[in-house]
């Protein structure tokens, strides 16, 4: 039998228990369900669970497969057959997925059990999960603070031991930033490394699915299952997938790490800066060579992002019109009234703002000044990274300039919210991979708030950033810390 507390273990540890037949996949789902019942009233990580389906799969789980019998939570913007996929929007009210996303098929093929759909900012648009139209998610380290976003439900579920691991999606930092704010590991793979088929599209040239886990090793395990070419996604890369788990465990001698001088900017919280400085020293002591590099055009990344991402969103979200699925306004007098009111009533404010901005920057007369110029600056940002990676193997920065902020603190000012992603956005524009791992805590009003270290790697070089992240993680105890909600929780 597995007690509540055991839901705190890593996927790797859970697998050993499962393979030794000390616990059954059904008992694991049961333990998670109990944990969710105990804490999710406070945390609010899940939008739906699908216990019956998970239990049925658990009965037939083959625990000897790579992820055999391991439940994985899925951000509710990824289609899981016969389950809701709300995108945390009213406009998908009542929708049930008629198919599995490729990542879900791949997880199942590796023996994993998709269990639970996690909360997010509506259509993944946001950095705090406060834009969810359905539920409020709280940071397990301080319930008055945000979990980050948009994959805030996935990060909070993993941090609060309501999930062993989860999938998120990252368009401008939506895996890495909530992972940082909740004190867990989050990996955004190279654009094209993981299939987007079945991920509801927000910004198609930027979106990428990736793992949220308790350890770097677990992120490697999930990557082994989900990475690879998919004929259903024409942007997925037809490149060999290495064994990410096998690449862990090396020392860092000979590894060159770049610290971008532009990233140690004003506005970084002093406690975040101190934690990053200490992490750089630690990596240096493990054998890595630290080199200062320059990414002069990354200061334009947020501006470029909010043109390109909104432009793509305005096109992608045109499909939500009340005709084929989801919500439809009542008694439309004609088809324009049907569209206009369905979208008025079905979309939340941030989604409307972004569709309007995206429509504007693509409109005749403004296209060159905004969209075309943004694409050219995107190319300059891509070149910045290419030239930095001629000198170094990976780049280091904070994941977020601040630790978790208060619920409500930034909702009234979208621009302030956008600037929360200042360190993560450039990686999506350049298509490179990045990971956030815990590297310390900020002390704020008696609460310990996690700080995330971001490592950015070359295209398709996930193995390298996982290796560096793993070496750092194994030399520190940050990943072992549990939020106060976990230790306060009474056992069976």
């Amino acid at each position: 039998m597995i007690g509540n507390e055991s839901t705190a273990m890593s996927i790797a540890d859970l697998q050993s228990l499962l393979r030794r037949r000390e616990v059954s996949p059904r008992e694991v789902i049961d333990a998670l369900r109990e944990r969710i019942e105990a804490v999710d009233g406070d945390i609010g990580a899940y939008l739906s669970l699908g216990i019956e389906a998970a239990m049925k799969e658990a009965e037939h789980a083959n625990v000897d497969l790579p992820l055999g019998g391991v439940p994985i939570a899925i951000k509710d913007i990824i289609n899981v057959l016969d389950q809701p996929c709300t995108c945390a929007s009213k406009i998908l009210n009542g929708y049930r997925a008629p198919y599995d996303a490729t990542v879900v098929q791949k997880l199942r093929a590796a023996g994993a059990i998709p269990f639970g759909k996690t909360n997010l900012d509506e259509f993944a648009m946001g950095s705090s999960t406060e834009n969810s139209a359905l539920k409020s998610t709280r940071n397990p380290w301080d319930l008055s603070r945000v979990p980050g976003g948009s994959s805030g439900g996935s990060a909070a579920a993993v941090a609060a031991d309501e999930a062993f691991g989860a999938l998120g999606s990252d368009t401008g930092g939506s895996i890495r930033q909530p992972a940082a704010l909740c004190g867990v590991v989050g990996l955004k793979p190279t654009y094209g490394r993981v299939s987007r088929f079945g991920l509801v599209a927000f910004a198609s040239s930027l979106d990428q699915i990736g793992p949220v886990t308790k350890t770097v090793g677990d992120a490697a395990l999930i990557m082994n299952a989900i990475a690879g070419h998919d004929p259903q996604d024409s942007t997925s890369l037809n490149e060999l997938v290495p064994d990410y788990v096998a690449s862990l465990g090396n020392d860092l001698r000979g590894v060159r790490l770049g610290v971008p001088k532009e990233y140690m900017i004003e506005g970084i919280d002093p406690q975040v800066r101190a934690a990053i400085d200490a992490a750089v020293k630690q990596l240096n002591s493990l054998g890595a060579e630290i080199i200062e590099v320059s990414l002069p055009n990354t200061q334009y990344a947020v501006a470029v992002y909010y043109i390109i991402a909104t432009a793509e969103a305005s096109a992608n979200l045109a499909r939500f019109d009340g005709v084929r699925y989801g919500y439809r306004a009542e008694n439309p007098k004609d088809v324009l009234d049907l569209y206009g009111r369905t979208r008025e009533e079905g979309f939340g404010r941030e989604v409307k703002r972004r569709i309007i901005l995206g429509t504007y920057v693509l409109s005749s007369g403004y296209y060159d000044a905004y969209y075309l110029r943004a694409q050219k600056v995107r190319e300059l940002i891509r070149r910045d990274f290419a030239s930095a990676f001629e000198k170094v193997d990976a780049l280091i920065s904070p994941t977020s300039p601040v630790a978790a902020f208060k619920l409500g603190e930034r909702v009234a000012d979208p621009l302030q919210m956008y600037l929360a992603d200042i360190f993560t956005i450039a990686a999506n524009l350049a298509g490179i991979c990045g990971i956030s791992i815990p590297c310390g805590f900020a002390e704020l009003n008696g609460h310990r708030l996690p700080i995330g270290l971001q490592l950015l790697g070359k295209p398709l070089d996930e193995a390298r950033i996982l290796q560096i992240a793993h070496a750092y993680e194994q030399s520190t105890d940050w990943h072992k810390a549990r939020p106060p909600i976990a230790s306060n929780q009474a056992l069976l």
Partner: protein, 96 residues
């Protein structure tokens, strides 16, 4: 009713088929004017001769075999429709 930028929120919202209340249009106008002011910084850069990047890692000419395969039945495709009949999506009359 435009603000400090060329953006007229009420007009663009109509293009995007989103009805807005007057209050909402007013709030969005101010917020999006701020965002557009922020993205003005892109004008500082000289982008002469720079190619426009469409993807971080572009992939070209992806083809698949032109062959039939199993996919949704029409019942499955219609299963999420707010209104449907006779194997069709039902919408208000479009053509008089």
């Amino acid at each position: 009713m435009a603000g400090n930028s060329d953006l007229d929120v009420a007009y663009v919202a109509r293009l995007a088929r989103i009805n807005l209340t007057e209050d909402e249009a007013k709030i969005f106008q101010k917020q999006l004017d701020d965002v557009l002011k922020y993205v003005e910084k892109l004008r500082q850069l000289d982008v002469t001769g720079i190619d426009a990047a469409t993807h971080g890692l572009p992939v070209f000419n992806v083809f698949r075999e032109d062959a039939t395969r199993d996919w949704f039945t029409s019942d499955q495709a219609l299963s999420n429709a707010p209104r449907q009949a006779n194997g069709l999506f039902v919408v208000p009359k479009v053509v008089e």
